[in-house]
Structures are given as structure tokens and as C-alpha cells.
Amino acid sequence: MSIQSSMKTTLICVLALSSMIGGILVPFLPIGPVNLTLITQGTFTAIMATSVGLLIHQCGLISFGHATFFGLGAYITALLLKNTTLHFTLIVALAIGLPTLFGFLMALVVVRQTGVAFSMLTLAVAQVFHEVILKWRNLAGGDDGMSVQLPKILLGFDSLIFQTASTMFSISWCLLTAILLGLYLFNQSRWGRLVFAIRDNEERVRFLGHDTLLLRAFVFSLSSAIGALGGVLFLLYNAYVSPELLHWTYSGFALVMAIVGGAEFVLGPALGAMVFLFTKDAMGDITEHWQAIMGVTLIVITVWRPAGLAGIAETQFKKFKWGRRDVQ
């Protein structure tokens, strides 16, 4: 790595650290409980959007089923908390580990397809889970969803820290930042660049000596793990989960956020999630037409500015830095 890029990496690490510190301090600002709740929920969605965005960026794959992993993370945590007395760390490990394992196995089969076929496959898988949870009332309450009671003490802490916005926000924000940093470092690493090269020329990567299926399956499992983590956090905070989380249109929303934010950038999807969140809240009455707004934004960005909001920001930044001469 050149000196320039290691300087850049150090800078990014410093920024990440400051972001985490900021996240810990934010709850002390006078922003009001409603807003605090809002941004807490926002981090969960941001994590889910990031998982979808990872797959788009590294593999060029559009998944309509990633809500599955988010939903599974939430449901497994809920079911284990409700029906077993397993230690909390084990529960979290399973709630993230099982969807990741499933993601890996699914990827080995599904990632062989690309483009629309892949999208339809992920949709199909998502719907299977959705239908099963919906119809199997005895397991998880079906349509009504499931609420759980967190045990009083978790990991040595009062479990209320997960249910109070001020503390939960800091926890999930730090996790979100850690995930984004981790993804950035992964993308810069040899393996990250190799996976990205598969998008350019899959055959050549194979002839350079790499198993491209395994590489992409790895990225898929990574994105499943991230999604599942988001689901776990969601459950801990809300203490409630419903089959909506598994529906393919919920995946679709995460997809919209990732694309509008700009999937080619590590923090694009998270940015997209946050922007949608704040705009939705600020718009108040017009929230009735939230779905239409999402649809319009998706179309506009896809056709006109595929690089998304993050891309627009980058272009503006470059223009500012280098002058208008040669930047499009």
C-alpha cells in the first residue's frame, strides 16, 4: 500500500473513532426523546440497508430477500429468549450465526445466477420464510407477531440499557460505525478488491486461481451476518417482532434506501436510511404517501443519478476541491 492510501486509511479510522465518541455523546444533547427514538430505530434500518448495499457494491447483485436475515435475527432472538434459558451471548451468537450459515449455504446455490434470476431467487426464499412464520401461528404468533420480555440482567448489565433510547442509540451507533469501518477496510483489502474484480471479469479472476463462487458466497454471508445483527438489535430495543419484517417489500425498502443513498459507497446505504428517516419524520402529514415518495425517489436516482446521494455529495466535494474544470 502506498503512503497516500495508508494515510487515507488512518484518517478513516480516526473519523470512525470520532464518530463513535460522537455517538456516545449525542444522547446528552437536548434533542428530545422523540428524536432520540427516531435515530435509534434509524441505526437498525441503516444496518439493514448496509447489508443490502454490500451485496450490490461487491457483487452487483440486487437482493429482494435480505429482510430475511434481518427478520431471522430478530425472530431467533425472540424465540430463544422466550422458550429457552440459554445464556444471552449464546443467544446472540445463534441469532447471528444461524442466518449467516444459512446465507452461506443459500449463496452457494443462488449466487451461481446473476441479474434478474438472482433477484427472483432471493424473493422466493424470502417469501418462503415469510409464509412459514405467518402461517405457523403456534410458533411465533403469526400475523400478530411476538413480544418478548428481556431478562432483567444481560451481559452483567441491566437489560434496560437496550430498551432505553439514550443507551441503545450509543450501542447501535457504535456498532454501525464499526461495521462501516470494517467494510471499508475489507473493500480496500486484497480480498475485497478481488471480489470487486469479479464484477468486471469473473472468468479472468477464476483463471488467476480463485474460486469465484466461494468468494461471492463469502460476501453474501457477510451481508447476511450484518443483516442478522441489525435484527437482533431491533428485537432487543422493541421487544417485539412481526412477519412484516420478512416480507419482500420490506427488503425492497432497504434496497431503495441503499440505492438512493448510493450503494457504491460504504456509507451510502446508511446515509440513505437516515435521510429517508428524517425526511419521513419532517414531512409529517404527507407520510401517508410515504411509499409513493420512495418509489419516485428510486426511479429518479436509478435513472438520473445512479451514484446516489453519496455520489452527488462526492461530486460536489470534488468540484469544490478541484474547481469545475474536469469534473463531471
Binding site: 478488491r193 478481488l194 472468468e203 477464476r206 483463471f207 488467476l208 486461481g209 474460486d211 469465484t212
Partner: protein, 236 residues
């Protein structure tokens, strides 16, 4: 190390009733540069595809260094030291020259990226995005990617395709120097006879999916069998 670097035994590739390759035997000693020529449709590219693992439905044996690799995937073959270049340029269009060559080097600790760039005259373009290179330079890049990591055996599918006579001969020279220096065994498919006769030690001639003859440059040049195979095609 086995004296025979690469060997194909009774290689057959069928498409329905049509035989692209039929019982082809080829044996290349270590360090040799073998040419593979033949009229259009002779099966040259198919043979490269079978040997490199790109073509999966074939019968016969492929042995590298005495080891059977017919069931190996292309990535496994590369890890064993068998690399190839492509007739239709196959590079990473969005990356710079240097970037993709570095990407190609992995488990081998000797970073021969610099050497390869030097030898193939790509150094001055190292920071250019591959898309912006001239066709000729892209062909070299395709070749360079195969040379990273000093493979043991190199399969080249018309590396001079589309190049001018001058560019072709230059490439041939560069190739021969590098390959002899690193003692790589080469199987080179080419239409351009000047390149073949300049670079190769021995030549195998294919016609209609079968081996017509194998010999030194002079033997092949003067063989009436070979001449009629080419002319026969034209006359028909």
C-alpha cells in the same frame, strides 16, 4: 520435476456428432516453446480450452508434471502453475494496469509485477485505466496477467491477434526472451506464421480436430502434408 511439463492424452471434444478434437495426443517437454497451428476450424482454441479447464465436457487425460489434472477446475490448475491468455482480450477494464497486475499476484511472495511490466513495455502505462489503452497494449496486458506469479506452463491463445506485423514480431521477441529466462513451458496458438517460426522450438499441426504432424520449424515448413492441408482448405 518431470521432464514432460504438459501432456494431453487422447483428448476428445464432441459437439453432438461433430468432433472438434479427436484423440489428440500432445506432449511438451519442460522449457520448450511449442507452436500449435492449423487451418481455421482445426480445433486449436478448443485444445487450449480443454488443457486450461475452460472446456469441461471432454474425454481423455491432461497431465501436468506427471500429475493428472483433467478433473481440476481452472482455478485449481492455475494454483498448480498452469496459466493462460485469451484470444478475445480478457482484462479488467476499470482498473489501472498496475492495479490489476498487483491483484493477480497472490500467494507467490516474489512480486514479479515490476519485472513483467518492464519486459512487456507496460511500465509507462502503469497508471492508465485499462479501458484507455490501445488495442495492442491491451493484448500485452492480457498476456501480462498470465505471466504474474511465474507460471510453470503457459497456454497462449493467439496473443498477436489483431496486432500489426511490427507489433506482432515485437511481442514475439519479448515473449521468447521472458519465457526462456524464466524457463516457462509454452503452448502457443497462432495464425501469424512469422511469429510461430520466430518464437517456437517445435510445432504441432492440427487439422480437422486431429494431429496432422509434429516436428521442428523446418520440418513443418517443408512438409507437404501441412501445405496441402492449408491449400486444400483454400482450394475447396
Amino acid at each position: 520435476m518431470n521432464p514432460v511439463a504438459l501432456q494431453g492424452i487422447k483428448l476428445t471434444r464432441q459437439f453432438g456428432g461433430f468432433f472438434a478434437l479427436r484423440d489428440v495426443d500432445i506432449s511438451i517437454p519442460a522449457g520448450e516453446i511449442r507452436g500449435l497451428i492449423g487451418p481455421n476450424g482445426a480445433g486449436k482454441s478448443t485444445l487450449i480450452d480443454v488443457l486450461s479447464g475452460r472446456s469441461t465436457r471432454s474425454q481423455g487425460s491432461v497431465l501436468m508434471d506427471g500429475q493428472e489434472i483433467h478433473q481440476c477446475t481452472p482455478q485449481e490448475r492455475r494454483r498448480l502453475g498452469l496459466a493462460r491468455s485469451f484470444q478475445r482480450t480478457s482484462i479488467f477494464t476499470t482498473r489501472t494496469v498496475r492495479d490489476q497486475l498487483e491483484l493477480a499476484s497472490h500467494w507467490k511472495n516474489d512480486d514479479n509485477v515490476q519485472e513483467v511490466m518492464d519486459h512487456l513495455d507496460l511500465k509507462q502505462h502503469q497508471n492508465q485505466v485499462a479501458n484507455h489503452l490501445s488495442y495492442g497494449h491491451q493484448r500485452r496486458l492480457d498476456l501480462a496477467l498470465a505471466l504474474i506469479g511465474k507460471p510453470q506452463v503457459l497456454l497462449l491463445d493467439e496473443p498477436a491477434a489483431g496486432l500489426t506485423m511490427q507489433e506482432s514480431l515485437r511481442l514475439a521477441q519479448l515473449l521468447r526472451d521472458l519465457v526462456k529466462r524464466w524457463q516457462i513451458t509454452v503452448l502457443l496458438v497462432e495464425h501469424d506464421m512469422d511469429v510461430v517460426f520466430t518464437v517456437c522450438d517445435r510445432i504441432t499441426v492440427l487439422n480437422l480436430g486431429e494431429v496432422l504432424m509434429e516436428g521442428t520449424v523446418d520440418e513443418v515448413r517443408s512438409s507437404s502434408l501441412v501445405i496441402s492441408a492449408y491449400l486444400g482448405r483454400n482450394a475447396a
